[in-house]
Amino acid sequence: MYIYRLVFLLVLAIYIFSPNILDWWTAPGNVWYSPYVIWAGLIAIGFWLEWRRDPNEF
C-alpha cells in the first residue's frame, strides 16, 4: 500500500497546485498552444509507462 499512498500524495499536490501549473502553462509570453504541448508531453510519458509495463504487474 506504500506506493499507493505516495501516488495519492502526489495526486493531491498536483491537484492543489493545478491552477498555478496552468497559469505557468498559459503565461503571457508562451504561444497559445503551449498548454497542449505540455499535455501531449504528459500523454507521451503515459504511453511510455504503459508500453514498458510488465503485463503481470498490478
Partner: protein, 987 residues
C-alpha cells in the same frame, strides 16, 4: 444561411440511421472480430464522456474562463493516466464479480442494498441534468440552423430516436457475451464524427479566417483582449471544482463506468486507453480556442456556446454547418444512449428487483429485458420532463456543473472500495445522504428556481453562476467527513469486512471452509428452482459448472463452494449483487456451525494465490516462492502423504499417494474421506478418527494383491496454526514384508542345511569305519567273491563319502568376506556335484543329466557359489522337463570366456516373461513351489564372477520347446596366467 426544418430532421434521421446501420452490421457479425474488439474502438467509445460539452459548451466556457475549460478534460485525463492504481483495481473487482454498475459495486462492497439504491437514486437525479443538457443542445442547435423548427418537437423526436436505439441495441442480453458490441462500435463512430468535425472546423477557421498560424498570431497580437481572456479568467475555485468533478467522472458517471468496465474487452484495452483517451480529449480540446477566436474575429452573433454553428454559418458553408450540427447530434445521442442504458440497469437491479423478484416467470431473461426497456423509456421521459420544466431555462455549463457535483458525492465511496477497507456501510450512507442533501439545497433547488432553502437561514451567500463551486466543495467536504467519522465510530459486520478485503488492493478474500446444505450440484438446481424456476436454475448451474470446468454432477465440498460463488457471480450479472447474494444466501445456505470457528479454505486461498502468480513482487513474491518450494517438497515426498481437515475434508494428496492409491489429487482434494473408494475410506477414516498415532503392517488388498501398510498420523495444530486437522503418512511395507518372509524361509533352510551337514559329518565316521573294515577284509582273505564284495563295499562307501562331501560343501554358507579369494574351479566337477545333490531329492527321478563339460574347462571363482548356480539352474530345468527328459550341460571356451550351456527339453519360457525372470520374487511356478529368488541369486553370483547370463527360449526352434541358459564366465588358463605372472614379476 439557414436550413428548412424538414431538411434538418431528414439529415438527423439519415445520420441516426447510419448509426443504426453501424450497430446492426456489428451485431450481425459482419465486421471482423479483431476490429470490433480493437483497443482503438474501445478508446474511442470512451469518448462518450465529452458529450455535448465537446462541441458546444467547451467553447462557451472558454469564452468566459479562458483555458479554464481544460479542467473538464484534464481531470479525467489524470484519472486515466492513473489507471493502474485507480481504474485497474475497479476493473478487476467488476470483472471478477460481474458488477455492471457503480451501484452494483457499492452494494457488493458495502454489503447493503440501501447503498446500491442510494447510488442509483443519486445517479438518477444527477444524470437528469446531464441528459437535459444534451436535449437542450440538440434543440437549440436545430433552431439556430433552421429557425422555423419547434424546439419542443425537436426534443421529442431526438428522445424518441435515442429511446429506440437504446432499446434495440443496448437492452439486448447476449448469453454468450456480456458486451454490447454494436453499441460500442456505434459510440466509437460517434466519437470519430465528433473529433473529425471539430478538427475540420478548427482547420477551416485557421486557414480561411486567419490565413494560417502567422495570421492567427498576428490577430492575437492585435486583439490583446481576445487572447487575454484565455489566460486571465481562470478562477481557482471553479477550476479546482471542475477538475475534481472531471476526475471523479471516470469512476462515477454511469456512462463512463458502463463503457470503461462493463463493455471492456480486455485489460490490455484499458491500458491502451490510459493514454489513448487523454490523447483523444486533447484532439477535442485543440480546436476550441481557434473556434472561439474565429467566432470573435467574424463577430458571430450567436451565444458563444454555439459558436461552432455560428462560425460555420458565418463562413457561409452549409456543409460545415450541417457537419457541426451532426457532430453535436452524435455527441448528444451517444451520451444519452449510454447513460440511460447504464441507469436503467442500475434502477432494475437496485430499485425494481429488490421490490419484486420475478418468481413466477417462465423466462426470467425475457422478463428482465422487457423491464429494462420499460425503464429506459421511463428515464428518457423523465429527462424530457426535467428539460421542459427546469433544464431549458439554465445555461449548458451550469447544467453540467449541477450534474457533476451530484455525481461527485459518489467519489468518496468509490475510492473507499479500493483504498479504505475500514469504511463501512453506515459511514457511506450517512456521508452520501449528507452530501446529497447539501447538493440539493444549495445547487439543485436554487438553480431550478423552485425554492432557495439557504434564504430560510439568512445565509449571506446566494448560489449563482460564479460561486457554485463553493457549494460543491461544502457538500463533498461534509460527505467525506461524515463518511470517515461514522466508519471509524461504528463497527463493520464480518461479511462487510470480508467483502472489503476482497475489494481492497492486493488483498485476498479468505473464505471459511463450511459445509453447504446441498451435497451435490443437482441439489443446487433443486434449491435454486424455488426462486428462479427449474429451467433458469438448471441453465445457471450448468453455466457455472461449465465455467469452472467441473463435471456435470459435482459432489466435492470444495468444488461446491466454488460453484456457489460462481452461481452468485453469474446471478449478480443478471439481477445485481444484492438480489443475487440474498438469493444465494437464502437458498444455497451453509450448515449451521457445530462450534466457534471452522478452518480457512486453504485450497481456495492457494488457488487464488496461484492466480496471482507473477503479479507478486518483492517480499510477497519471495514468500510465494517459499510457499511453492514447501508445497513442492510435500508433493514430491517419496512417501505417500495426505492432510485432512478437522471435518474430514482432504486438503492435500501428494504424488506418492496418487501412485499408491491410483486416485488423482484432482479427484479427491476438497472431498471428504468418505468419497474415497471403500477400502481406503474405511482405513483412513478409521485411522484418522482413532486415538492411535501409528498403525503397523495393516493388510490391504489392492488390485488383487496383498499390501502391507504402516500408517502414521500427526496433528496439524500448533502455535502458528490453531486450526485442527491432521497429516497422515502411509508407508508401503509390502516389499519389506516379502523380504522378511523370504529371510525367514532362508533361515529355516539354512538350519536344515547345518543339520544335514552335522548329520553328514556324523555319518562320515561310520562310513570311514566301514571302508577300513572292507580294506581289512581284503587283506584277510583270498576268496575272490569276498574280495569282490569288499571292493563293492569300498566303492559304495566312496560314493557315500562323495555325496556327504557335496552335501557338506553346499551347506557351508558362502563366506562373503572371502568372496574375492577365487581359485581355479573345474566346471565339470561343479556340475557333477550339483547333479549329485539334486539326485538326493525324490523329485524328477526319471530325468537324465548329461554332463558334457570338458574336464579341463576351468574358471576362477568360488566353487561353492558356482555349485549353487548349477543347482538352481538344473533344479529349474528339472522342474520344467517332462518325465524321462534329458538335461544337457555342455561347455566350451573362446579366447577369454568359458561358455556353459544348460539345455532342457521343457515347455520353455513365454517371451513376455523372459525380461522378468531375473527379478527377485518373480516366479512362474505354482504358489509354494518356488520363491522367485533362485534365478536372481544365480544372476547375482554370475555378476560377482564378472560373467553374464543369457536365456534363450525356445532352445529348439523346430519343436518350439526347451530353454537354453548360457553362462559366460572368464576362463582360467594355468599356463597363460603363469606367463602373465612372470611378466608381472619382471616388470
Amino acid at each position: 444561411m439557414s436550413f428548412s426544418a424538414s431538411g434538418l430532421v431528414l439529415a438527423s434521421l439519415v445520420y441516426l440511421l447510419l448509426l443504426f446501420g453501424v450497430a446492426w452490421i456489428t451485431e450481425q457479425g459482419m465486421l471482423p472480430k479483431q476490429w470490433v474488439r480493437h483497443p482503438l474502438v474501445y478508446t474511442l467509445s470512451l469518448g462518450v464522456y465529452a458529450g455535448i460539452w465537446a462541441v458546444y459548451a467547451a467553447i462557451g466556457m472558454a469564452a468566459e474562463t479562458g483555458y479554464g475549460f481544460l479542467a473538464y478534460y484534464l481531470g479525467i485525463s489524470g484519472a486515466f493516466l492513473l489507471a493502474p492504481v485507480l481504474l485497474n483495481p475497479i476493473m478487476r473487482i467488476a470483472r471478477a464479480y460481474q458488477l455492471t454498475s457503480l451501484a452494483d459495486l457499492f452494494a457488493y462492497r458495502y454489503r447493503s442494498q440501501w447503498a446500491g439504491t442510494l447510488v442509483t437514486l443519486c445517479s438518477g437525479a444527477a444524470i437528469l441534468a446531464l441528459l437535459s443538457m444534451q436535449i437542450q443542445a440538440v434543440a437549440v442547435s436545430a433552431s439556430i440552423l433552421a429557425p422555423d423548427t419547434s424546439p419542443k418537437a425537436m426534443s421529442l423526436l431526438f428522445c424518441l430516436i435515442v429511446l429506440l436505439f437504446a432499446i434495440l441495441f443496448g437492452a439486448r442480453r447476449n448469453q454468450n457475451s456480456e458486451n454490447h458490441q454494436g453499441l460500442v462500435l456505434a459510440i466509437a463512430f460517434d466519437s470519430l464524427v465528433k473529433v473529425g468535425a471539430l478538427l475540420t472546423l478548427g482547420a477551416v477557421i485557421l486557414f480561411q479566417v486567419f490565413d494560417g498560424m502567422e495570421g492567427l498570431d498576428l490577430w492575437l497580437a492585435m486583439n490583446k483582449a481576445a487572447s487575454g481572456t484565455m489566460t486571465l479568467a481562470i478562477d481557482d475555485g471553479s477550476w479546482r471544482a471542475l477538475m475534481l468533478m472531471s476526475f471523479a467522472g471516470a469512476l462515477v458517471l454511469p456512462h463512463m463506468y458502463h463503457m470503461t468496465f462493463s463493455e471492456n474487452p480486455s485489460p490490455k484495452s484499458l491500458a491502451k486507453a490510459s493514454w489513448g483517451l487523454p490523447l483523444y480529449l486533447l484532439l477535442l480540446a485543440l480546436p476550441v480556442p481557434v473556434i472561439l477566436w474565429g467566432g470573435q474575429a467574424l463577430d458571430v452573433g450567436t451565444d458563444p456556446n454555439f459558436y461552432a454553428l455560428g462560425v460555420a454559418q458565418a463562413l457561409d458553408s452549409p456543409l460545415l454547418s450541417l457537419l457541426m450540427y451532426i457532430a453535436g447530434l452524435s455527441a448528444a445521442s451517444g451520451l444519452m444512449i449510454v447513460s440511460t442504458l447504464a441507469l436503467a440497469g442500475m434502477v432494475l437491479n437496485h430499485v425494481v428487483l429488490p421490490v419484486k423478484t420475478p418468481r413466477d416467470q417462465a423466462d426470467i431473461y425475457r422478463w428482465l429485458q422487457w423491464v429494462k426497456r420499460l425503464l429506459i423509456a421511463v428515464i428518457i421521459f423523465f429527462a424530457l420532463l426535467f428539460h421542459e420544466t427546469v433544464g431549458q431555462e439554465l445555461d449548458l455549463a451550469i447544467l453540467g456543473a449541477i450534474s457533476l457535483s451530484g455525481m461527485l458525492q459518489l467519489l468518496p465511496g468509490a475510492l473507499g472500495v479500493i483504498y479504505w477497507p475500514e469504511g463501512n456501510r453506515r459511514g457511506l450512507i450517512a456521508g452520501l445522504v449528507t452530501g446529497l442533501v447539501i447538493w440539493l439545497a444549495t445547487l439543485v433547488l436554487p438553480f431550478s428556481h423552485t425554492i432557495n432553502p439557504l434564504a430560510w437561514f439568512n445565509v449571506p451567500l446566494v448560489p449563482d453562476y460564479s460561486n457554485w463551486h463553493i457549494f460543491t466543495f461544502i457538500s463533498i467536504t461534509a460527505n467525506v467527513t461524515v463518511f470517515g467519522l461514522f466508519s471509524i465510530l461504528s463497527a463493520s459486520s464480518a461479511e462487510e469486512t470480508s467483502a472489503a478485503q476482497a475489494c481492497s488492493m492486493g488483498a485476498l478474500s479468505r473464505p471459511q471452509r463450511r459445509e453447504l446444505l446441498a451435497s451435490s450440484s443437482t441439489e443446487f438446481i433443486r434449491q435454486l428452482a424455488d426462486p428462479l424456476g427449474y429451467g433458469v436454475a438448471r441453465r445457471e448451474v450448468e453455466r457455472a459448472l461449465a465455467q469452472l470446468k467441473l463435471p456435470n454432477i459435482e459432489y466435492r465440498p470444495y468444488q461446491l463452494r466454488r460453484l456457489r460463488d460462481q452461481v452468485e457471480i453469474n446471478l449478480s450479472g443478471l439481477l445485481g449483487p444484492s438480489v443475487a447474494r440474498d438469493m444465494v444466501h437464502r437458498h444455497l445456505g451453509f450448515k449451521p456451525l457445530a462450534r466457534g470457528n471452522t478452518g480457512q479454505d486453504i485450497r481456495y486461498v492457494e488457488r487464488a494465490l496461484g492466480d496471482y502468480q507473477n503479479r507478486l513482487t518483492g517480499l510477497a513474491g519471495e514468500l510465494d516462492n517459499l510457499r511453492r518450494h514447501y508445497r513442492q517438497t510435500l508433493q514430491n515426498l517419496p512417501i505417500p502423504a495426505c492432510s485432512v481437515g478437522e471435518d474430514g475434508e482432504i486438503l492435500m494428496w501428494n504424488h506418492a499417494m496418487e501412485e499408491l492409491t491410483g486416485i488423482t489429487a484432482d479427484d479427491v482434494v476438497g472431498a471428504r474421506l468418505m468419497a474415497l473408494p471403500e477400502h481406503w475410506h474405511l482405513l483412513l477414516e478409521d485411522f484418522n478418527r482413532g486415538e492411535e498415532l501409528h498403525r503397523y503392517k495393516h493388510r490391504l488388498d489392492l488390485r488383487g494383491k496383498p499390501h502391507w501398510l504402516n500408517l502414521h498420523k500427526a496433528a496439524l495444530s500448533g502455535p502458528d496454526h490453531t486450526e485442527g486437522g491432521s497429516i497422515i503418512l502411509v508407508e508401503d511395507q509390502t516389499e519389506t514384508r516379502l523380504l522378511e518372509d523370504e529371510l525367514m524361509h532362508s533361515e529355516r533352510l539354512a538350519s536344515v542345511g547345518r543339520l544335514a551337514a552335522g548329520v553328514a559329518h556324523e555319518i562320515g565316521n561310520p562310513v570311514t569305519g566301514i571302508s577300513s573294515l572292507a580294506q581289512n577284509l581284503k587283506l584277510e582273505t583270498d576268496n575272490p567273491d569276498i574280495l569282490d564284495t569288499a571292493d563293492q563295499i569300498q566303492q559304495q562307501t566312496r560314493r557315500i563319502s562323495a555325496i556327504l562331501q557335496s552335501l557338506m560343501n553346499f551347506a557351508r554358507t558362502g563366506n562373503h568376506a572371502h568372496a574375492n579369494r577365487y581359485e581355479p574351479v573345474s566346471i565339470h566337477r561343479c556340475v557333477e556335484e550339483s547333479v549329485n545333490l539334486l539326485s538326493l531329492s525324490d523329485k524328477g527321478m526319471g530325468i537324465r543329466y548329461l554332463n558334457e563339460v570338458p574336464e579341463d574347462l576351468l574358471v576362477l571363482g568360488d566353487e561353492q557359489r558356482l555349485v549353487q548356480v548349477f543347482v538352481n539352474l538344473l533344479a529349474n530345468a528339472r522342474d520344467a522337463s517332462p518325465e524321462g527328459g534329458t538335461i544337457r550341460v555342455s561347455g566350451n571356451s573362446d579366447s577369454y570366456s568359458a561358455i556353459i550351456e544348460v539345455i532342457d527339453e521343457g515347455s520353455g519360457i513365454p517371451e513376455d516373461q523372459l525380461d522378468h525372470i531375473f527379478e527377485p520374487f518373480y516366479t512362474t511356478k505354482a504358489p509354494n513351489k518356488g520363491t522367485g529368488l533362485g534365478l536372481s541369486l544365480v544372476y547375482s553370483i554370475v555378476e560377482e564372477h564378472y560373467g553374464n547370463i543369457q536365456v534363450e527360449s525356445p532352445a529348439n526352434t523346430e519343436t518350439g520347446t526347451g530353454t537354453c541358459v548360457r553362462l559366460r564366465l572368464p576362463a582360467y588358463r594355468p599356463e597363460a596366467d603363469d606367463t602373465s605372472a612372470s611378466q608381472n614379476e619382471r616388470s
